[in-house]
Symmetry: C2
Subunit: 308 residues, 2 copies
């Protein structure tokens, strides 16, 4: 059995506009790189090669919390040295914490000969999300582990469904502002109008059917969020303009990635994805906020091993 | 062009547990029989051969209101004689008014050489629903016209999606009590908890995916309604017992058909559907409420012509 494992853990887009807390997809770019090594010395030691100044105490580190959950269930002494090179900026809304948690447990499971199921790994990784945001959500972890577009039908008990989808080109802009996940959760109303909820679940059903039928027009019509986006988008300057102009330029639709501040757009082809990127850049140039953009595709594999 | 048309218009199950206002399916049994005849005398005359004492003034009759909407858009003088033989009892929760409205406009469209689209017909038929319940809903009309399982993603503008599904055997019991659609709407809370809405849209997404993947287990797990059923089921004596015992006996799941009082259960095979029927009968025998049961399948054609 191998003693060392190097993996890449992809960024993910949670919520997918109307699918708050239940839908997510994995991106080919950006992704974190992690190296996990078995050690004769029991326990877990974490090292970061990036400059994000993240905690290295396992209990306070999202990858650490996930790995500790796995190690606890293992019920045999084991030692790991974990080296993390984060490329997904924490707080970007691109599933940075999920990539850390998911990457760590997938790597460990590979080193352990695959004794845990994908569902187990999601469960372990959710402990990392708890450390990051106080909530054990799975809508970034699931696509990060499985790849593609995933549905979390339920959390208790965990019910994960992989959704087929047509090829999608994804444009992402990460405006360099801070939106805390906990703040983004707090501003949501705890009650919603039944009328709006019905409209939302019509869109969710349409989006799922659109993905599975590979019907781009249906996907486009269904990418509407009448509940979360109207509230959260207030935290992201330029959001309305970006969205409208991207859709006018041919994007299928899009919205806030996770709890923001990143904005994503789904597109039929790379040419449109590039046009959309230019529009996004233009908006943030004018506003005067720094940004980073990605033009990428849906990652169909999830966390994967890198062989040097 | 034919001057006379005889059609059957199927009963339908709206909502499908978690899909309130957006999902519906058509049944093979029961169905209404309607005969429509072109006449040289302009206007619309309605005759009922059943004993339900429904109004025959076109504006007050659900089939009449639907036909009048079609005739108005036609913008040329036309005369129709409509004879309705209802087998779907009004107030059963099995889409009785939708069958009347949908049957009438589909028959007229066939006589007119098919000049209107399916979407047009849904639009016309919604005028019948308005007469019946005060609300222009489409979740019975759409499966009645198209057959199969249908999604109404949105009403304004109308967006209809046909969903593939595996073979389903449907058991229905209609306890002979009255639940008025308007009452069933009124008791619903106008606001729902976001937490519950999320659980509901996870189930809706799961149900749509389950139908399209032909995954009976996923369908079964997704047939859960945390918003409407807990409120409405109070109006239906025996509901909780019927549901629990049917699921224990192997039904995939089920719930209130439309706004009730009928209860439906989806099953993998006819044998289970028959077992479920026996359970339903047993519950209402004990309670002492008259009932009518159906063991049937999903109707894949919708309203169809009957050739004598």
């Amino acid at each position: 059995m191998s003693k060392r494992m190097k993996i890449s853990a992809p960024a993910t887009v949670a919520n997918l506009v109307c699918g708050f807390d239940i839908l997510g997809l994995a991106l080919e770019d950006p992704c974190d790189i992690m190296e996990l090594e078995c050690s004769d010395e029991p326990g877990l030691r974490i090292r970061h090669t990036d400059n994000y100044a993240l905690p290295v105490v396992p209990e306070l580190n999202v990858a650490g919390a996930a790995l500790l959950a796995l190690m606890e269930e293992l019920q045999e002494p084991v030692g790991f040295d974990l080296t993390i090179t984060k490329c997904i900026k924490p707080g970007s809304g691109l599933g940075s914490s999920a990539a850390s948690s998911a990457g760590a447990v997938v790597a460990a499971n590979k080193l352990l000969g695959g004794r845990f199921s994908g569902m187990d790994l999601v469960r372990f990784a959710m402990n990392g999300e708890k450390v990051a945001s106080g909530v054990k959500h799975a809508d970034n972890i699931t696509p990060c582990i499985y790849g593609g577009v995933t549905l979390i039908r339920a959390i208790h008990p965990l019910d994960i469904v992989q959704l087929e989808a047509p090829p999608l080109h994804v444009t992402v802009i990460h405006p360099q502002i801070e939106v805390r996940t906990s703040d983004a959760r707090q501003i949501l109303r705890k009650e919603v109008q039944l009328k709006q909820a019905i409209r939302q679940w019509g869109n969710i059903a349409g989006l799922v059917a659109g993905f599975m039928k590979k019907d781009y027009d249906l996907i486009s019509r269904s990418l509407e969020d009448v509940i979360i986006e109207p509230v959260r988008s207030i935290l992201i300057p330029g959001f309305a303009e970006v969205k409208q102009r991207c859709i006018d330029a041919g994007a299928l639709g899009g919205g806030i990635s996770g709890s923001g501040p990143s904005i994503f757009m789904l597109n039929r082809d790379e040419e449109t994805a590039r046009k959309v990127e230019a529009i996004m850049k233009d908006v943030y140039e004018k506003i005067g906020i720094d940004y980073k953009t990605y033009v990428t595709k849906v990652n169909m594999e999830g966390v994967k091993e890198i062989r040097d």
